[in-house]
């Protein structure tokens, strides 16, 4: 077990930011921490790194208790904090070299590592740039390079894609998967469910400092009663035609708005196939058909009664 958090409680005055949180991260995982703004992701990460004192609970990293003085543990962790932390006075290269230097003192070895990190985030053309001259996306990439250059075993990234253009975002997400393939265990926080779904092997959904659900994205989606949503463009279906669809297995709701039928299923297989067959058999002419699988937003919506994003 790389990370083990047990009964973590963190209060800011009267506000309980983290409420008896339990989770663990296994070696090789990309562990996603998904939650809306203010759900306690950053607080969790900061407690994990002993940057914050917490009120209750235990935190173990690599099987050892994490404290502010656990320098041997810190050596194996790469950190990309939510707020970009780089020196405005140093160039891109100097910044990465500094942060890598906090972990690696050998000069020659560091040089290779820094070059690798620069290639990795695609900042080859900006080595001599100062942070003030970088766009938001490039700055985030620099922040990431500073966190991962020393090739740590555990990498913690707190919303590294906030305010980043789609191109940089994809580059970052692919990079994280690549780091994972090279052997790093990753903790990734975000409030974008698409990102988390795209890269995370296991996801914990947080709300108001509490765990809403944990599991792989399939497991999470299976937790809820809503399954596939199929929308059919069809003009004025007859009541008997609607009835035939409603009678199909797994179908929990059919809405007919005159030119469009929305069919909701409760998980299960072959729903789209069954619907298509029924449409043919009932000789109902239709235009476009599209099918949407449930999202993590549906999961969040069903469990908490509100949207993940506001």
């Amino acid at each position: 077990m790389i990370v083990k958090v047990n009964q973590l409680v963190k209060r800011y005055g009267d506000l309980v930011a983290i409420d008896h949180l339990n989770f663990d991260v296994k070696e090789g995982e990309i562990f996603g921490l998904l939650g809306p703004n203010g759900s306690g992701k950053t607080t969790t990460i900061n407690c994990l790194l002993s940057l914050l004192k917490y009120d209750k609970g235990e935190i173990e990293l690599f099987g050892k208790s994490m404290t502010p003085e656990a320098y041997d543990l810190k050596r194996n962790i790469g950190i990309v904090l939510q707020n970009v932390a780089v020196f405005d006075e140093l160039t891109v290269y100097e910044n990465i070299d500094y942060f890598c230097g906090l972990y690696v003192s050998d000069k020659a070895k560091r040089k290779t590592l820094v070059e690798e990190a620069i290639d990795f985030v695609g900042l080859e053309d900006y080595k001599r740039f100062y942070p003030k001259k970088l766009s938001g996306g490039l700055l985030r990439r620099l922040n990431i390079a500073c966190g991962i250059a020393h090739q740590p075993k555990l990498i913690i990234l707190d919303e590294p894609t906030v305010a980043v253009d789609p191109q940089s975002r994809n580059k970052i997400l692919e990079g994280i998967q690549e780091l994972n393939r090279r052997g790093a265990t990753i903790i990734y926080t975000s409030h974008y469910m698409e990102e988390v779904e795209q890269i995370c092997t296991r996801i914990m959904i947080l709300d108001k400092g509490r765990v809403v659900a944990t599991g792989t994205k399939e497991q999470l989606k299976n937790m809820i009663s809503v399954g596939e949503k199929i929308t059919v463009e069809a003009y004025h279906p007859t009541p008997s035609q609607i009835e035939a669809i409603t009678a199909l297995p797994n179908i929990i709701g059919v809405e007919n708005s005159g030119n469009q039928i929305v069919i909701r299923s409760a998980g299960g297989k072959n729903n789209l196939e069954n619907v298509l067959e029924t449409l043919k058999r009932e000789q109902l002419s239709y235009g476009k058909i599209y099918s949407e699988l449930p999202t993590l937003n549906d999961v969040f919506l069903e469990i908490t009664g509100k949207e993940l994003r506001d």
Binding site: Y12, T43, N46, L49, L51, L52, K53, P68, E69, Y71, D72, K74, R75, I77, I79, L81, N83, V84, A85, V86, F87, E89, L90, E94, Y98, F99, G101, L102, Y103, C146
Partner: protein
């Protein structure tokens, strides 16, 4: 040593700023030193003579020689001996001092004491100090001579005391004149240097501390395996290098300004004194850097601390002119001891251990300040790094 290296880089980036400070301060110091030396020189000496009215009840050889001697440091002026004219003269500062010589001047009273002079001055006027000292000196010499040569006639006594008193004045004047002629700039320059040295070092040290004190960077650095202790030491080391470079530059300026005195032994002591002072300034700057947040606040505080410490410690106004309570407060600043040390070194002609012991204790006190400031800064820094960040 990544922290050390980066802080040196940050300092390097700020070299132009520091050079500007340095140039301005050097210019001010040079000008101030020149003014000090010139105005303190003997050619303006007569300007400082004050007007004194003397009422002499009986003219004797002794009173004559006394008045004569007094005229070396004061202009003897005529004044009508009425209450009203005396009050007016003092009020309008036409005279600073009224001396009434009793008819039995120079006699020993029944109590075995010298008959006192009746001296009236404008209250708290520092201008009268020299004349008062001169009178006291004359009286001391008079009573000593009377004791030593009880058989002398009054006329002989008068001429002997007059000779001794004017001798004393001549020696005193000669010393001043010699200093002025040789242009002994070093003591003055080293005093003024305290101001620029303090300001530049505080600004430089705090520039580094501000960067590393930025919340995001601090959090990020706290996540690294570099211990808090190592972090502080590396910062202290780079700050120390900075203070050292500034010290060397200021020394070079002093050498250029007063190259004739560079090879005097006093120069070595000036260097030692300023070096140890530099250590205490380093400690103070480190402390300020640990406490102050924000560049604006920083330059304000650097200015206030530097100016007030230098003012009450006698950098701009000689310590002799400052009140006792001011000096008492000043003694809580290393600047006070530094200036005191400089004065002492400037007067040194004999370098035996006996003469130096007082200087050594001053140097020790400055070193103590350095140590204390650094310790406090380390403790404050540690407490802050454990503080809740969020």
């Amino acid at each position: 040593m990544p922290v050390f290296k980066v802080s040196m880089k940050i300092l390097k980036k700020n070299i132009p700023t520091f050079l500007i400070y340095m140039l301005v301060f050097i210019m001010v110091s040079v000008i101030a030193t020149r003014i000090e030396v010139l105005s303190g020189g003997p050619e303006n000496f007569s300007d400082t003579k004050i007007n004194v009215a003397v009422f002499n009840e009986t003219e004797t050889p002794l009173t004559k020689s006394f008045i004569n001697s007094l005229s070396e440091v004061a202009n003897i002026v005529e004044l009508e001996d009425t209450e009203e004219s005396i009050q007016d003269a003092l009020y309008f500062r036409a005279v600073y001092m009224i001396v009434r010589i009793p008819s039995d001047f120079g006699q020993i009273s029944e109590k075995g004491e010298m008959v006192p002079l009746d001296v009236m001055t404008i209250p708290d006027a520092p201008e009268t100090i020299q004349a008062q000292n001169h009178i006291n000196q004359f009286l001391r010499l008079l009573s000593a001579t009377k004791l030593g040569y009880p058989e002398l006639s009054e006329a002989d006594l008068a001429s002997k005391v007059a000779a001794l008193a004017s001798n004393d004045t001549v020696v005193h004047m000669a010393e001043q004149a010699k200093q002025g002629i040789e242009g002994d700039l070093m003591p003055f320059f080293f005093n003024y240097m305290a101001y620029s040295y303090m300001y530049i070092v505080i600004m430089g040290v705090a520039t580094i501390m501000l960067v590393f004190g930025r919340k995001d960077l601090k959090m990020r650095n706290t996540c690294s395996p570099v211990t808090g202790y190592s972090n502080s030491l590396q910062l202290l080391a780079s700050n120390g290098v900075f203070a050292l470079i500034v010290w060397i530059l200021l020394l070079l300026v002093s050498f250029v300004m007063d190259f004739r005195n560079v090879f005097k032994l006093n120069t070595i002591y000036f260097m030692i004194n300023s070096f140890i002072f530099g250590l205490s300034i380093l400690g103070l700057s480190f402390l300020i850097g640990n406490l102050v947040k924000g560049k604006q606040a920083l330059s304000a505080i650097a200015g206030i601390v530097t100016l007030s410490a230098c003012f009450i410690s006698g950098v701009f106004v000689p310590q002799a002119f400052l009140g006792e309570s001011v000096l008492k407060v000043a003694s809580f600043f290393p600047t006070y001891w530094y200036v005191k040390g400089n004065l002492m070194i400037g007067d040194l002609t004999n370098f035996s251990n006996g003469h130096l012991s007082e200087l050594y204790s001053i140097l020790l006190i400055e070193g103590g300040f350095a140590l204390a400031f650094i310790m406090i800064a380390l403790v404050v820094g540690k407490r802050k790094s454990l503080e809740k960040i969020g």
